[in-house]
Symmetry: C2
Subunit: 376 residues, 2 copies
């Protein structure tokens, strides 16, 4: 049962929770013996992904707006110096401790069986002994993850975890930058790369960092104002858009069509921002991103009659792999899950391999290959 008196930094009370449940904006879920509620969308100031365990609320991680032009973005968004951190390209989780268990919530507010199983490989659980209310907000990144096409140039196998914010149970507020940095140091937590504190006059230095990230196919950065309001903005590189287009073209009809439009605009504006020439090499790379992905899907259809992608990830406990599959099957979303293999590997992990079959891409392309008439 939640308190009836909301505070500024703890706005969810029992009445609002009841309303959200009644109107379908929040739903009951189960995980093992836990019953909890997740907010499926933003509702009366409560962020999507907020999760409620009896009287404990883990608030959702707030959306960060994007600027597409660096100089005008920084000067129009920030009123004070700002920190700059790398935005790593994985999936967002919140780690917290509940009744002696360390749990990981996905951005959407589901307990993630995969991250929950693996998280203590990457953080010292001691942090929660001294700071029992902490919520570590971070990114799980690496090729062997169950959610996303996870190619990043700096992680060749398995996953890693990087903290970018620290919050607290029953608090919407995230720790100030210096407080976060101190906790990271104290508990030797893995952090996203932090580039330092900048002002507008450091623009050329900021540009240099971004051009290097672009060359390295790293996604981009988050700017965090060094002020009470802690205003934030993200800014991403050109090459990550080409990489995203290549990965998306393979399952094109299963993505919102804005996926491509938005990335093309970001690419063009990064080029405009940094005077990157529209060379034949860049054009060829972009065209290749589309064609490789699409023609791969067509070849999959000819050979297997479906468009699919194979995922693999490692678990300590077999049962967590089973839970993950159940969770992915529930999620549905025109994606079917087919397990290949779940067996102990040489290093003592349970290695899960499964396919995601993309129903819309499979259906659209296969009916075209069969000669159906389309009215478009």
């Amino acid at each position: 049962m939640l308190d009836q008196n909301p505070r500024n930094n703890h706005p969810l009370n029992q009445n609002l929770l009841n309303q959200a449940l009644e109107s379908g904006h929040a739903l009951w879920l189960e995980y093992d013996d836990l019953h909890y509620v997740r907010f499926v969308d933003n509702y009366h100031g409560i962020c999507r992904g907020t999760a409620v365990f009896d009287d404990l609320v883990v608030y959702g991680y707030p959306s960060i707006g994007r600027v597409l032009s660096l100089q005008s973005g920084l000067s129009s968004q920030f009123q004070a110096p700002f920190w700059m951190e790398e935005k790593v390209d994985g999936f967002n989780v919140r780690i917290f401790k509940l009744n002696n268990r360390i749990l990981a919530l996905s951005r959407g507010g589901f307990i993630c069986p995969f991250t929950t199983d693996r998280i203590t490989d990457f953080i010292d659980a001691g942090v929660f002994e001294h700071q029992p209310s902490s919520v570590l907000c971070g990114e799980v990144v690496g090729p062997d993850n169950p959610y996303m096409d996870g190619e990043v140039p700096y992680i060749k196998e398995d996953i890693q975890f990087f903290v970018f914010d620290i919050g607290a149970i029953n608090e919407t507020r995230l720790a100030a930058y210096s407080e976060k940095a101190a906790l990271i140091d104290q508990y030797q937590l893995p952090s996203v790369p932090r580039f330092g504190r900048f002002e507008m006059k450091d623009l050329s230095q900021i540009r240099d960092i971004l051009l290097q990230l672009n060359e390295d196919y790293r996604e981009g950065v988050i700017f965090k104002e060094d002020s009470r309001r802690d205003h934030r903005a993200k800014y991403t590189t050109a090459n990550i858009n080409i990489a995203d287009i290549q990965s998306g073209a393979n399952t094109m009809f299963d993505l919102p069509p804005e996926y491509f439009i938005n990335r093309l605009a970001r690419l063009a504006l990064f080029m405009d921002d940094h005077d990157i020439a529209n060379t034949q090499a860049l054009q060829q790379q972009l065209g290749n991103a589309y064609m490789e992905g699409l023609l791969f899907a067509v070849r999959q259809l000819h050979a297997h009659h479906k468009v699919f992608r194979t995922f693999r990830c490692r678990f300590h406990e077999r049962e967590n792999a089973v839970k993950l599959l159940a969770r992915l099957n529930e999620a549905g979303n025109h994606v079917q899950i087919t397990m290949h293999d779940l067996s102990l590997d040489s290093s003592g992990y349970w290695l899960l391999e499964f396919d995601k079959v993309f129903a819309k891409s499979s259906g659209t392309l296969s009916s075209s290959l069969k000669g159906s008439l389309l009215f478009d």
Copy 2:
């Protein structure tokens, strides 16, 4: 007043028209002293674009489905030999005579002031003396048209008109192929290129024609079954998709996002169909199509604070140019019209020049350039 008794080939009666008007599926319009009704969408078997002038109905031109794979498309769609004609890349009009005036209807059922003004440059009006109920269905193609980015390789200036079907007032039925061909010959009407009558066994000949059209950047073909049911399908070339992407990238945010997805799929399936290799040259061409269009829009914004395209077209009568501008302004659709010039040219035509300003592309890109925060 329409008849109360619909026939098979004349399904619109007064009751159905009244229903359509009451429910907003048909709307009253004016053109000079004419009052007429147009169907804004398909309604109870009446095709979008159908226009009603008192008791005379000019039925809408029916949609033709598309196949994306040649062999499977032909074998699954056709039960008899079929005619093959070029699909020219312009805008669809229907030409007919009403009370001694020759009028042109757009696909949507508006009287088009531009085509109405110019149509007798391209056809001998005599056809309507002998065949007063005829409806000539054809395509207006060429760079100097008011509606579309009109680059076709075979028309360097102004427009041309090509007939592909002949219908009749108060008839949904289109003339059989042989009947149409006879009328075209008899009245020396300009026809779309006609490639002949084929069967499945002629597949390699059909392929050769399509590969030549592809090399020439021509849009594709329409297949028409030589049978009572007159079943039809269209099939388009690879290169036209790249050309469409280049033209669309310039005003990307004003197009339905499926615009690009669909063209990419058609491109990949044409390549798959005809064993066209995914060469670096092709990739570079595709990437260039996106980047040229997008970066041109960004340059327009820097220089003019808007994304626009300049159109020009010629008229015999000045008042028809004025009517066209009024018509385009009414159409709205997030596009603003700005006239540059309307003056007599050396050949005695009124030359109209105007810009279409694309509000969504202008707004989205300019707010990005100003440093706004986007939540995407």
